[in-house]
């Protein structure tokens, strides 16, 4: 009956491709990604230089806990905020402009639209996150080597897992931001909440009641980020378990986001 559509079906991959066109056609996307690398590598340069200079003054015990790979992944702290901005804008820019109405009129199956957005965010964040973590690792080790301080190779025990884990961690944070954005429907609200989750709560964790301690084992910037260490941390003996717990939390938030996105009027 229709002569215009290639086939009379609007499938998931089409929604996904449309979301990619929307994302790539905004300059803010590319500025954000450029900012991710500039800020990430700048932090890497600063922190690695300072670590390398401090190595001479370390005690024997501290030298035993020297984690060159983990140190070079420290830029994740700033990177998670920037990648969170990306995960936020994919959703909130549509609410801010009213474009969400047009998008939902074109794709009235709401779960499909949100799934396409989430898959896109995950994909872009995993690629950008891994690229940044590997770049930061190699760059950081080069700085250490230049200072004649012990550095790590990708083949050393646990190193590859830590670096790759850093990229996965960033992707999980991007999805956390996307989930928050769907629930809050505003850029400012989502980003403020994200900052509270990844920076404020960990910073204030010592003042929280002791029963919340268990939660922080799986919290971003806390237990969730333990995968990036290559020297065993007595607090987190099984770091991938902590990271898995954080991912479950993100998945739960996304589940709430899907329910709300389906139910709410636009």
């Amino acid at each position: 009956m229709t002569t215009i559509a290639d086939t009379p079906k609007a499938a998931f991959h089409r929604t996904h491709r449309a979301e990619w066109i929307k994302l790539r056609s905004l300059r803010s996307t590319w500025y954000t990604l450029a900012g991710l690398f500039v800020a990430g590598l700048a932090v890497s340069a600063l922190s690695m230089t300072s670590s390398a200079n401090g190595y001479a003054g370390l005690s024997a015990a501290e030298r035993l806990a020297w984690d060159p790979a983990g140190l070079s992944l420290v830029p994740y702290i700033i990177a998670q905020l920037i990648i969170g901005v990306l995960g936020t804008l994919v959703v909130t820019s549509e609410y801010a402009t009213g474009l969400i109405q047009t998008s939902l009129a074109a794709t009235p199956r709401r779960h499909r639209l949100l799934a396409a957005k989430a898959v896109l965010v995950a994909g872009v964040a995993v690629i950008a996150g891994e690229a940044l973590m590997f770049a930061s690792f190699f760059f950081g080790q080069a700085v250490l080597a230049a200072h004649d301080v012990p550095s790590a190779g990708l083949g050393d025990p646990g190193v590859f897992a830590a670096v790759a884990g850093g990229g996965l961690y960033l992707a999980a944070i991007a999805l956390l931001a996307t989930g928050l954005s769907v629930v809050l429907r505003s850029t400012a609200g989502a980003l403020t909440t994200l900052v509270a989750v990844i920076f404020l709560a960990p910073a204030l964790s010592a003042t929280f009641p002791s029963w919340t301690r268990g939660l922080f084992d799986y919290w971003p910037t806390q237990g969730g980020a333990a995968v990036m260490a290559t020297v065993p941390d007595p607090d987190f003996p099984h770091p991938w378990l902590n990271f898995g717990g954080m991912c479950l939390g993100v998945a739960a938030l996304l589940a709430v986001a899907f329910v709300l996105f389906r139910r709410r009027d636009v």
Partner: protein, 306 residues
């Protein structure tokens, strides 16, 4: 032609205690421009959102071609809707905006070029929409509605804020879409605009249906109008008219306004009494008057003395 119709049955939307749309039923048929008319806050936009599945009805149903909007397999090939021309991302180029929409429904890329040409936007396809005038944004929004060559088109207040040239372009465009056999639903709070565009009228006030009728039938049903008369001795002729059963009131500049009698009868009466008439003009009730009469009880926020 059931496939091309919007059918609204007992549609109701409540937000808390406020009923925005109240048991509304009407049909939008192909080949016509249906004017969806009502004062601001009457529930027009909410109704349109419910047609598109953007808002969920509290009760009642709305279908396009017999199906709920959310069940349409390729919605853009069946319904094109423009609710808000401002709803574009200003930093996205017009071409990319349309391309993303086309791709989401599996429409070929060439459609983007075609709708840009039909709306006269080829020249600005590669421009970011933040630099667009309101009229250009309206055109871009209309281009988006045409991507899938749909049989049903929905526009919410499309001429709001446009200059006369833009208004005329949109008006002609709606007419041509209806001539092509499409069902066109256009909302407005301006009766005069609808008089030039629509051939069917659905009037609502406070969410309720007030009238659902053809434009000409609507005009006729709003009374016969009055006749403006200028005579050499208006006072004398007024007495004759009143005696013959007409109602007379004084008009501007010594004219009299006669109701309850057709102009032909007034002319005969003047001839019979030997009264010379300087003017005898039948006056149609203005659509605006008719609209105000209809909706005066249902205006949401009424000014004092209105």
């Amino acid at each position: 032609m059931l496939l091309d119709m919007i059918e609204i049955r007992g549609l109701t939307k409540r937000y808390g205690h406020q009923t925005v749309v109240d048991d509304l039923s009407f049909t939008v048929e192909p080949g016509h421009v249906t004017g969806f008319l009502g004062p601001n806050g009457a529930g027009k936009s909410t109704t349109m959102k419910m047609i598109l599945g953007l808002a969920a009805p509290t009760s009642g149903s709305v279908t396009v071609g017999g199906r709920r909007y959310s069940g349409l397999p390729v919605p853009l090939t069946e319904v094109g809707a423009l609710l808000d021309a401002g709803a574009v991302h200003g930093s996205r180029k017009a071409y990319d905006h349309l391309l993303a929409l086309a791709v989401s429904n599996g429409l070929p890329k060439r459609r983007v070029g075609e709708v840009l040409a039909r709306t006269g936007l080829e020249g600005v396809a590669g421009k970011r929409t933040c630099g667009f005038s309101l009229g250009m944004r309206q055109r871009l929004g209309i281009a988006a509605t045409l991507l899938g060559d749909p049989r049903v088109l929905i526009f919410d207040e499309p001429v709001n804020g446009l200059d006369p040239e833009g208004i005329r372009w949109i008006r002609d465009f709606m007419r041509s879409l209806a001539r092509e056999g499409r069902a066109v639903l256009v909302s407005s709070h301006l009766m005069s605009e609808m008089a030039l565009t629509a051939d069917h009228l659905v009037v609502i006030g406070k969410g309720r249906l007030i009238a659902d009728t053809g434009m000409t039938a609507f005009m006729r049903s709003r009374g016969e109008g009055t006749v403006l008369v200028r005579a050499a001795e208006p006072a004398v002729f007024s007495r004759h008219l009143t005696a013959a059963g007409a109602t007379v009131r004084d008009g501007l500049e010594a004219s009299i306004v006669v109701s309850g009698m057709a102009s032909a009868e007034i002319g005969k009466l003047a001839a019979y009494h030997g009264v010379a008439l300087a003017e005898l003009t039948p006056q149609q009730p203005s659509l605006e008057d008719a609209f105000m009469d209809l909706t005066e009880d249902s205006v949401e926020f009424q000014g004092a003395g209105a």
